[in-house]
């Protein structure tokens, strides 16, 4: 068996345009990863990952648990240094404290006694990283009010954050991240602990907000189905390797089988996509590099 290529990018994706030649300019790139490799705790977590996102797009970072999604996001944020490769964010090399990148982390445990209202937590998005005390000002209050309104958090703006539901906390954290007007918003598994309805609401919110706030979104999830209606493209991670492009390009039997290194089947059922391991009883498809046994 020949050596598999680790780098699977599809035509157009690495240049920041999709295959149909859309109107986006190649220079309108907001995030580019080049050959990222990361090894942690004795494991090769990411292996030569490359992709590129254009401004204003909505991208899903899809992969099973343990595929390396959180690690990838942390590299983009500058929290982990890659073993090799690099990340370029909105025209400059990535560094910590990049105000162009907003972040909604995966698990925030907010105890009921945390003395912060939703409104206060959003306000921290403006200046929470600076030392000292913050002085209230009408301009600041207006900004906070606008952002709360944009995410639909006004009904519970004065409630303690520890008392909010998962979906409500999610909205507050999105507002927190967006209030500093970043160009790129990273969300780490925001839908993981939400029920189906709340998850759909968050996705709708993000799809609406992204063009409003002129922000590109990269959202990691292990199930791409809630995102199918709104995704512009997908970065698919398997075993630390990545394939990126539009959903049609990436989520195909051939592409994913190449990525996984063994046969998987992409099944579309009633508008949903399922990726299943190939079974021994599948019929042989001509021209298939991975014929079923």
């Amino acid at each position: 068996m020949t050596v598999r290529t680790n780098l699977v990018t599809l035509s157009g994706a690495s240049r920041g345009t999709d295959g149909t030649g859309d109107a986006q300019k190649a220079g309108d790139e907001v995030l580019r990863a080049e050959g990222l490799s990361v090894s942690l705790g004795g494991r090769q977590v990411l292996d030569q990952v490359s992709f590129s996102l254009r401004a204003g797009g909505f991208w899903g970072l899809i992969g099973a648990n343990g595929a390396g999604k959180t690690t990838l996001l942390r590299v983009v944020l500058g929290l982990i240094a890659p073993t090799s490769g690099r990340v370029v964010v909105t025209g400059g090399h990535r560094s910590r404290r990049n105000p162009q990148v907003g972040y909604v982390p995966q698990k925030i445990s907010l105890e009921p006694d945390m003395p912060l209202r939703a409104r206060d937590l959003v306000g921290l998005g403006l200046d929470g990283h600076r030392f000292g005390l913050s002085w209230p000002s009408p301009a600041r209050a207006t900004l906070v009010e606008e952002m709360l309104d944009a995410v639909g958090a006004t009904p519970f703006a004065n409630s303690r954050v520890g008392n909010l539901s998962g979906g409500e906390q999610q909205r507050v954290m999105i507002a927190h991240a967006l209030i500093s007007r970043p160009k790129l918003l990273l969300l780490d598994e925001p839908l993981a602990n939400l029920d189906i309805r709340s998850a759909a609401e968050v996705v709708q919110l993000l799809a609406r907000i992204a063009p409003e706030q002129h922000v590109a979104i990269l959202l990691s999830a292990h199930d791409m189905n809630p995102l199918l209606p709104v995704m512009d493209g997908v970065v698919y991670l398997a075993d630390g390797r990545a394939a990126s492009g539009t959903t049609e390009e990436v989520v195909r039997t051939g592409t994913l089988s190449r990525l996984y290194g063994h046969r998987v089947e992409v099944v579309r059922v009633e508008g949903r996509v399922l990726v299943v391991s190939g079974s021994e009883h599948q019929a042989h498809h001509p021209g298939d590099p991975y014929p079923a046994r």
């Binding site: 942390r74 944020l77 500058g78 929290l79 910590r96 404290r97 990148v101 972040y103 982390p105 698990k107 925030i108 445990s109 907010l110 105890e111 009921p112 006694d113 945390m114 003395p115 912060l116 209202r117 206060d120 937590l121 921290l124 200046d127 929470g128 990283h129 600076r130 030392f131 000292g132 005390l133 913050s134 519970f156 004065n158 409630s159 303690r160 520890g162 008392n163 909010l164 539901s165 998962g166 979906g167 409500e168 906390q169 602990n193 939400l194 029920d195 709340s198």
Partner: protein, 311 residues
Amino acid sequence: MNVTGALLSPLFEPGFFSSGPVHVALVVGGVVAVVSGIVGVFTVIRGQSFAGHALADIGSAGGSAAVLVGVSTLYGYLALNVVAAAVMELIGIRRPRGRDLATGVVLGAALGLAALFLYEDTVSTSTTGATVNVLFGSIFTLPPGTTTLIALLGAVSIVAIAVLYRPLLLSSVSYDLAAARGVPVRLVGAGYLLTLALAVSLSAITIGAILSTALLIGPAAISLRVTTRTWAAVTVASGVGVFACWGGTLVAYDSSDWTGGWGWPVSFCIVAVIFVLYFAAGLVARLAPAGPGRRRSERAEPAGAQRVDAA
């Protein structure tokens, strides 16, 4: 005596306000209560109550070493607490269970040292009163001339918290988020631990290890039950601390007359006041939940981690 005096006299036994030691105790106790309340709020929300308590005991080990060496006990408390805080930060575990374990190990080692120092102490000076004094302390036996120094160090603590305020809050909400936004999270964490070490040293030496923890955690817990905003939490915690301190002192002073003979120790009275207020705050919180938010039990599904580490 006028009407007010007549009304108040059952509360304030004769001589309360004219007693010199009481004056000092009230002033120092007040300062310590304010500092403890402010630092305590952050201690509770960061889940570092054990560290706050451990540092009081660790400081006592430093105090007994100081007695041995003949240096002012305050320096002993400060020195060992700063070392302990540095060690805790260097061990650097972030999950609460692991962090409490590391705190426990440091505490165990320090108490072992305390055993050694106290033993040497009793052997060399043959006074066993030192044991009790170092461990329990008493607000009425403050070393003379330290009031100004304590007030100064207290002010330093408050300034430190004011400087760390925003990044500390942010990193308490989410360590990763704060780091991603460029907050020097390890520095902020270390700065906070050192401030805690300072605050606890001050309170442990003036009011003893028990009250140090009581005034650090109690008023903060009370305040967090009934306030919604950070500045309110901090202010109420300080106020409750001062009230508990002064009220407890008053009760202790009066108690010798109520119980005909032996009075109740100040520590017990202050702790009693704190507990009464804590349960009162619990009732208030249940009858009128702070802010228009719903309480946890009414939400559709739980957000974040369950509180499972009950023991």
